[in-house]
């Protein structure tokens, strides 16, 4: 299927760019560990495990934002986006490929972050990991989409958090629920619903973000 081939070619390009530049992923790693250390100092003494669980999600959200802010910078600075839009491939492939690449970076950062979190605070359950995996899909799908818009505005990196955070609230609810509730099933199901709804919306409307 040529659509899959297009997404593959574009995602390869994004991964290659990051491998060359080597700036986003190390920054995300350092950022998330720094945030954990800050958490330690902001949590009052004798805080429960639940508080730390909640803060894990804050850390993931803002680390993701860091990575998402960089996602379309190359395309915008060098106006290469026009070149991609001119190509005969479906424009949604651009979003999907960029989303997949960003997801890869976020997961890579989390693979380091979760053990560090376990070291500093407390272990993470399987439900938490499942929640994080599902949440990552939503975060990267919606975040990449909004990032493409934000980078075309005057306000640029100022705008992305403003656009992203209201949309991220249901993700956080689902995620924290999965981490802390007695029956995480409902919350995981909700995350699946969120991912499905918003990824379809992003996929269908990305065309209009990059064309007139």
């Amino acid at each position: 299927m040529t659509y899959v081939a297009d997404v593959g070619a574009l995602a390869r390009k994004d991964l290659l760019l990051e491998l060359r530049a080597r700036d986003t992923l190390p920054a995300m790693l350092l950022f998330v560990v720094s945030v954990f250390v800050v958490f330690h100092f902001t949590l009052p003494a004798h805080s429960s495990d639940l508080a730390a669980s909640g803060l894990l999600w804050v850390a993931i959200l803002f680390t993701a934002l860091l990575g998402l802010g960089r996602a379309f910078v190359a395309e915008r600075e060098q106006r290469v986006l026009d070149g991609l839009v001119l190509a005969p491939c479906d424009r949604s492939a651009i979003w999907l490929a960029k989303g997949i690449a960003t997801l890869a970076f976020l997961v890579a950062a989390e693979i380091v972050a979760l053990p560090v979190f376990a070291l500093f605070f407390h272990g993470v359950s399987a439900a938490t990991v499942g929640g994080i995996a599902l949440a990552d899909v939503g975060i990267c799908g919606v975040g990449t989409f909004l990032g493409a818009m934000a980078v075309a505005t005057r306000a640029r990196d100022l705008l992305l958090p403003l656009l992203f955070l209201p949309l991220a609230i249901p993700i956080v609810v689902g995620g924290v629920g999965a981490s802390t509730a007695a029956s995480p099933g409902r919350y995981l199901g909700f995350l699946v619903l969120y991912d499905a709804l918003f990824c379809v919306l992003c996929w269908a409307s990305f065309e209009y973000v990059v064309t007139e």
Partner: protein, 194 residues
């Protein structure tokens, strides 16, 4: 190939194009001239499919796969090599025999030696020559070139002259330029924008 009637373009309050008529037959060579800000780039972008008209009608007989557009910017990734850039575009445009064609173009435009170097290390002339490779890679039937000679060095300009001479009549051209004398011998249609 291209038919435009009473074409107009507005960006919010600013009017950039007004009442433009254009007729480019298949195999024709249209030259668009005009001062800076007269809307040349906007017209070319509309024909390439990157912008929609605000008024009037525009008909382009071919789809995206058969259009090659050379913009002011080279539209290549600075952090990738020439080969990687052309490989990406080759895949996206589903170019048959991608590797051979890429090699042939790089060689023709004198970039073969630098094919493994990052575009960031290229001179302006080299980058523009790479942009030309990008445009010609998928052998488009409609070539839309926005001031192609502007960023080219001597060597590149000569190569472009050869390329235009070779493809004239076989492919359709829409070229905007500040220096119409250079392409005057090819021109079949002329449009001057106010």
């Amino acid at each position: 190939m291209i038919v435009a009637r009473k074409l107009g373009k507005r960006f919010g309050d600013k009017r950039v194009l007004r009442n433009v008529d254009l007729d480019v037959p298949r195999g024709g060579f249209a030259v668009v001239t005009g001062a800076n800000g007269s809307g040349k780039t906007t017209l070319l972008r509309m024909c390439a499919g990157l912008a929609r008209p605000s008024e009037g009608e525009l008909e382009v007989a071919v789809g995206r796969a058969a259009i090659g557009y050379l913009a002011h910017e080279p539209l290549v990734y600075r952090e990738l090599t020439a080969l990687e850039n052309l490989d990406l575009y080759g895949r996206l445009y589903r170019v048959p025999e991608r590797r051979e064609r890429t090699g042939m173009l790089l060689e023709r435009f004198g970039l073969w030696q630098a094919r493994h170097d990052r575009v960031a290390s290229y001179s302006r002339g080299m980058t523009q020559r790479l942009a030309l490779c990008r445009v010609l890679l998928h052998d488009p039937s409609l070539l839309i070139l926005d001031e192609p000679y502007a960023a080219l060095d001597e060597q590149g300009a000569a190569l472009l002259d050869d390329q235009l001479a070779e493809l004239r009549g076989v492919r359709t051209f829409l070229v905007s330029t500040h220096d119409p004398a250079r392409v005057e011998r090819f021109a079949t249609t002329r449009l001057a924008l106010a």
